[in-house]
Symmetry: C2
Subunit: 393 residues, 2 copies
C-alpha cells in the first residue's frame, strides 16, 4: 500500500482485442453511471421487465423465465447447474476445450455423476457422436459450451435439442463467449437453459449473467422450491424435490424475485442491470442479423490480415467462432514478450491460451464494439511492427 493517498481512476486506455473482456460500448458506460434506484421502485421493476423482454429477443426465445444472475458468467453457469442437478444425477458434458472442463468441474461440485465426451482441442463434435454418447450414458442433463474461447471453436448446436428430447434429457448451453456474435435461436433449437455474460459480443462489463430457462426446465427447478425461512407466506408449501444446495444461486427464488411476486432475495446489482439492459438495447436496435454479419465479416478481416503477416490460423476453420481467432505463434518469436510489447507499446491486449495451447497460440478477439474494421486494422498494424522488432532481436 503506498503511503500517499490513492488517486482517482485514470487508466491508460487499452484496445481489448483478446478473447474477452473487451471494451464496453460508450452507451453502456453511460448507463453504468446512472444514479441508483431502489430495487422495488416501479421504475426499476420496469427496467427489469424491459431487460427480460430485450433478452428474449437476444436469446430468440419466448421463455417467460429470462432473467439475470448477479455475478460473472461463471455465476450464471453455476446457478443453472446447481439448480438443475440433484446430487447423484448423471450429467454428460461435451468437452472441446478448457471451458468444457469448467462445466464438468462445476457439475461435479454440484454432486453430479459426470460423464464427459472429449474431442481433440481445435475440433468439434459431430451430432452422431453426441447422440451415441447420450444414448450410452442416458444423462438427465447434457451440458456444453457454444463457443470455447480456449480453442476458438464453436460447437454446432442445431441438433442438441432434438437429441436431448429423444432421450429425455435437459440441455444446458454456456453461451458466454458467443451470445450476440453468432446465431443461437434458443427456441428453434429446443435448448433448455442458456446463460452468458456481457463481456464478449454484448460489449459490456463482466459481472451479470443473462439467462433464459425453458418452461420445462423451470418446472423442474420449481419442484425444488424452498423459500427461505422468514419470507414464507401463509399457505406456502415447499417443492417435493431436494432443496437446492445454494441460496444465492437458487433459480427458483431468483425466478420469484424477477416475477410479479418480487420475492425479496438478493439486492439487485442496479448498475450491472443498467449495463445489461443497455447491452441488450443496443443489440436489438442494431438487429441480431446485422450483428452476426458484422462479427463474421470482421472474422474474415482478421484471418486475411493474419495471412498477410504469414501467420497460420489455429484449428478447424470451418467451426471457428466468428469473434475469436487463434493463431500459431511463429517459432522465431517469443509469444509472451510479443504480447507484452503489444500491450506496453501499442496499448493493445491480445490473449494467450490455456493448458496444451499455452504459449503456442495467441488469441485475437474482435467482438462487440471492436468487431469493426478500424480496431482490427490497428491491431494488425501493431502486430506487424511487433513481429518485425521481435525478429530483429
Amino acid at each position: 500500500m503506498p503511503r500517499q493517498s490513492v488517486p482517482e481512476l485514470k487508466p491508460v486506455p487499452r484496445l481489448l482485442m483478446g478473447p474477452g473482456p473487451i471494451n464496453a460500448y460508450p452507451q453502456v458506460l453511460r448507463a453504468l453511471s446512472v444514479q441508483l434506484l431502489g430495487q422495488f421502485d416501479p421504475q426499476f421493476r420496469r427496467y427489469m421487465a424491459e431487460t427480460s423482454a430485450l433478452y428474449r429477443k437476444v436469446f430468440q426465445t419466448r421463455n417467460r423465465q429470462t432473467l439475470m444472475v448477479d455475478g460473472t458468467a461463471r455465476a450464471g453457469i453455476e446457478a443453472a447447474l446447481v439448480s438443475l442437478i440433484e446430487p447423484g444425477d448423471r450429467v454428460l458434458v461435451l468437452v472441446f476445450g478448457r471451458f468444457g472442463h469448467l462445466l464438468s468441474e462445476i457439475a461435479s461440485r454440484c454432486g453430479a455423476d459426470v460423464r464427459t465426451l472429449e474431442t481433440p482441442w481445435g475440433t468439434v463434435f459431430e451430432p452422431d457422436a453426441i447422440e451415441r454418447a447420450v444414448k450410452k450414458h442416458r444423462p438427465k442433463l447434457l451440458a456444453t459450451c457454444q463457443g470455447d474461447t480456449s480453442t476458438t471453436m464453436a460447437q454446432p448446436l442445431a441438433d442438441i435439442g432434438r437429441i436431448c428430447a429423444r432421450y429425455g434429457a435437459l440441455s444446458f448451453v454456456d453461451a458466454t463467449a458467443t451470445l450476440g456474435g453468432m446465431p443461437l435461436p434458443v427456441d428453434r433449437w429446443g435448448l433448455d437453459v442458456v446463460s452468458a455474460g456481457l463481456q464478449k459480443c454484448l460489449g459490456g462489463p463482466s459481472g451479470i449473467a443473462p439467462m433464459t430457462i425453458s418452461d420445462r426446465a423451470a418446472a423442474r427447478i420449481y419442484q425444488r422450491r424452498h423459500i427461505e425461512q422468514g419470507l414464507q407466506k401463509k399457505g406456502y408449501r415447499p417443492g417435493t424435490g431436494k432443496r437446492i444446495r445454494s441460496n444465492y444461486f437458487d433459480l427458483a427464488m431468483i425466478m420469484d424475485y424477477w416475477s410479479d411476486q418480487a420475492l425479496n432475495h438478493h439486492t439487485e446489482a442496479t448498475s450491472m442491470l443498467y449495463a445489461a439492459r443497455e447491452c441488450g438495447r443496443l443489440l436489438v436496435a442494431e438487429g441480431l442479423t446485422h450483428a452476426f454479419a458484422r462479427h463474421a465479416t470482421t472474422s474474415r478481416q482478421v484471418l486475411e490480415g493474419l495471412r498477410d503477416l504469414d501467420l497460420v490460423p489455429y484449428g478447424d476453420l470451418a467451426h471457428k467462432m466468428p469473434n475469436v481467432t487463434g493463431v500459431w505463434i511463429p517459432k522465431d518469436v517469443n509469444g509472451e514478450r510479443a504480447r507484452h510489447r503489444m500491450l506496453e507499446r501499442h496499448n493493445i491486449e491480445i490473449g494467450t491460451s490455456f493448458g496444451p495451447l499455452h504459449g503456442k497460440i495467441w488469441r485475437i478477439g474482435a467482438m462487440g464494439a471492436n468487431a469493426r474494421p478500424a480496431p482490427v486494422r490497428r491491431t494488425l498494424a501493431a502486430l506487424r511492427e511487433v513481429l518485425r522488432s521481435e525478429r530483429r532481436r
Copy 2:
C-alpha cells in the same frame, strides 16, 4: 414488451432513504463509467492491489486476504460459509432479525448442523448469553450479523473473538449493513471472516462483496484447495480437506486469483471493482472516525425529527444501528399508502420491514452520501406532509 423501441435509461431521480440500497456518491458513478481493462493488465492488477489495501483500512485489519467476491452482499456471505463449512460441521448462528435467519438458511444449505440462538426482534444478545451458547453447542463456526436492518439493531461484537478463541471456534460476521457506518475493528476484535456490500454506508451499488479473511481462516480454507481441472500446474497437490461444494464461491481459488499467482478463476467484474475501489478511497480519504461520527450525528438528527413528528422509534435505542432507524407507523395511518406517497409525490424511498414487523414499522436509512443534514431534512419535511395528508383522508 412494448412494440416501440426501449428508450435510454433516464429514471426520475429518487432520494433513497430506506435500509439500502442508497444513492451512490457521484464519484462512484464516475468510476463506474471508466472504460474497461483486461483483468491481467498490470494497471488492473494494481487497482486490485490498491482495493485490497484500501479495504484493509476499512476493515481495520492486516489480513493479507482482503478481497472482493463478485456478486451481491449475499454472495459474500455464501462464499464465506460454503468455504468455511464442511458438511456436518456444527455452526451456531445468532439470530436477532431476518438476516440472522438468512445466515442459518445459507449455512444449512452448505450442509451445516445449524444451531441458533434467538432473541426477540428489537433486542440484541449479552456476551454471557453468547458464551453460554458457544459452550453448549461447541460450534466450529459462530456466525452473526453486525447490524440487522430488519430490526435496525446492531449486535456488540467486541467479545465475540475472545469467546470464539476460548472454545476453538472461528467467527463470521456479516457487516453488509454497517461497514463504514460504525466501528468494526476486525483485528482488535479478533474476527475471522467479515463480508459486506457497497450499497449501504459505503455509498456504492450492490454487486460486489468486500471480504477480509484472517490467516487462521485462510489456512482452514486452503486445506480444502482443489484447483479446477485444466488449470492445475505441475507439482499441484490438492488439499486434504473436502472439496468446497461451489466453484464460483471457492475462496481458495478466489484467494489465488487475487494473489500474485493470478490463477484464472472468474473474469473480474471490472466496473464493480472500480466502484469498490472508489468507495474505499472515499471512505479512507474522509477518515473512518469522521464517517462513523457523521452517521451517528445523522442518526440523532433522524430520531429528533421523528419525535418532532410525534412518532415513536422502534426497538432498543441503546443498540440501534446509526444508519437505519425504525419507527412505529401511527395507528391512524396506512403505512404502505404513505410510503407510496413518499415515493410518487416526493421521490423519496423509505422502507417497510419483514415478517413480524411488516406494515408495523417504517425504516428510514441515512447512510453513505445521504448521512448528511440536507437529505434528512428533506425526508422529514416530506414525511410531515404525507402524515398530514394521510390523516385528512
